[in-house]
Subunit: 333 residues, 2 copies
């Protein structure tokens, strides 16, 4: 089946581009140096492709991602890089066949983990992003209490999410180093083998930060946001649409904001300039005249993670032909 | 079950507020004067509540919405207020038990409708929003060709979406009148009983525009965007979250941008000021000290339509107790 026979809007992965992205990353951060972040795709089949590229450890943002990977037998070391006090979900993670480690950053999240039978944790440290994470100078005390309560404290994590989009690479590297100095200080007090941090925007800036593993996810599929950084990864994810209306100065395709993560703004359209998105439409000015109703257009999302989360399925395409259909099976919570 | 026992993020409707919104609308636009727009909620059960409030005609943005309503037996007159050239979906709509009318704005969409066995259409007219719709002076010719091809041309539609958010009511009314003059001119050439237009932002500005039915949808649940207009509808939709981390100056709850339509910007949090959303987090400054991990927070979406489309289910709540669970069953395409 040709990609242009798909009903639209259709989420499509360029399989060759995905393969090149996986290879580019695994050559730089092989095996457990990368802990791929599943939140970027929420797709067990894509996680299996990352495992085939050498990575057996995974990062998750939701219990559903952890539980889904474990049920599918993908990954031998699953990290919930997030806090939760949901007892049922904590118990479900504790009952997984795969070893599960969860982030804690407070006595409340520690207690919830213990009560649910969780066995391993990382101490989540605030390294500058105002979100989760204990202050660095309190990480050691929390680790002590976690060990006293019987948890295996495997180390620390700290996400420098506020630095992913620093445009200048030298500035970004300096800011990452300063941020990771906080994580190293916390690690000195906490101990353990793991110092987990980073993302696609900083994946290659951790050679001397003390970080033992990088939590990148977007690198596999990319988006226009990360595409602006000059990283060695290429756009592999597209939303294919159909032109449904053509006016004198614009055309309209059926790729609306319900098929796209919009928090980073409008998507791009190949061969056109986007004017705006509605629920089920993108209005754009074509680069060339002659666009007709029924033509296919290729839309590039601004943010990969929520775009994947809006679709039930993603199609694998090679040379325009569909070679596989991957359910996006780790959606919701 | 109390709403605070739900796993989070949880999409919740205040049933009393919904009832008041439905009553406020049906008292102003009774029966077929309103053609409720299903795209705002994608929920058959909510459409059934609108039907119970007196409305038997429905507006849809996707074939899936049409086909789902027809399969559920909700509505006696279903309009796809959108263009499509998808043959399979057009045939599926033509095969629905309920009467289906579709919008056309070109000879291409006309031909696709005819080929698929569609029997009724409206001529979609551009009334100022740069999206779908034929130019007003070409509507009559398209209607003639549609009738020659055997279609029942029931009238015209034209969506003044660019005017929904004009803040001043007098200015908004004047702009709507000017926009609807285009639709009336087209209708004079097209004929038929139906002049369909409008939305929640302009629902009460059509008394003398010649419009026979209003396509409002957001009024039932509302969002912070429409909430700024001073309309007689109240916020009925919320996302309930759990605080998972508390810092000196901020707190973090598990309501992230994967649970919220973000195209209209950040959501609001009751009793706090939102700083930013991440995939699975909202960071906010609480209005009062004393927020603790495990506390529940109430998040108000900025845009109702895509927020509904991100969830599998919405819970009905009355006085804090859960009284029903509605699948959001008309998602995707």
């Amino acid at each position: 089946v040709h990609v242009h026979e798909l009903p639209t809007p259709a989420l499509v992965i360029d399989a060759d581009a995905l393969d090149r992205n996986l290879a580019a990353m695994s050559s730089r951060l092989p095996a457990a140096r990368l802990r791929p972040h599943v939140k970027a795709h929420k797709c067990t089949a894509l996680a299996a492709a990352q495992q085939a590229a050498g990575h057996d450890t995974f990062t998750c943002a939701t219990p559903r991602e952890v539980i889904g990977l474990a049920a599918a037998g993908v990954g031998t070391d699953l990290l919930l890089a997030n806090e939760t006090v949901d007892r049922d979900r904590l118990r479900a993670m504790a009952d997984c066949d795969a070893p599960v480690t969860i982030a804690i950053d407070s006595d409340d999240t520690l207690r919830a983990a213990i009560d649910a039978g969780i066995r391993s944790c990382l101490i989540d440290v605030n390294v500058g992003l105002p979100r989760c994470g204990v202050e660095p100078d309190r990480a050691g005390g929390l680790a002590d209490r976690a060990r006293s309560a019987g948890l295996d404290v495997r180390g620390v994590m700290g996400y420098e999410g506020h630095l992913m989009m620093v445009a200048d690479r030298t500035e970004r590297a300096a800011a990452v180093e300063a941020s990771m100095a906080k994580l190293r200080a916390a690690h000195a007090d906490v101990g353990g083998d793991i110092v987990s941090a980073g993302g696609t925007g900083t994946f290659d800036l951790h050679a001397s930060t003390g970080v033992t593993e990088v939590q990148a996810g977007s690198y596999a599929l990319m988006d226009t946001h990360y595409g602006s950084l000059g990283l060695p990864f290429e756009q592999a994810l597209f939303v294919i649409g159909t032109v449904i209306s053509v006016a004198a100065d614009w055309a309209v395709a059926d790729v609306g904001l319900k098929s796209l993560g919009m928090d980073h703004g409008d998507p791009s359209v190949l061969d056109g300039a986007v004017w705006f998105c509605s629920d089920e439409h993108v209005t754009f000015a074509p680069d060339r005249p002659g666009v007709r109703v029924g033509d296919r257009v290729t839309v590039v999302p601004a943010h990969v993670d929520p775009t994947m989360a809006m679709h039930e399925v993603v199609w694998l395409m090679r040379d325009g032909e569909l070679i596989d259909r991957w359910p996006i099976d780790l959606r919701h919570w």
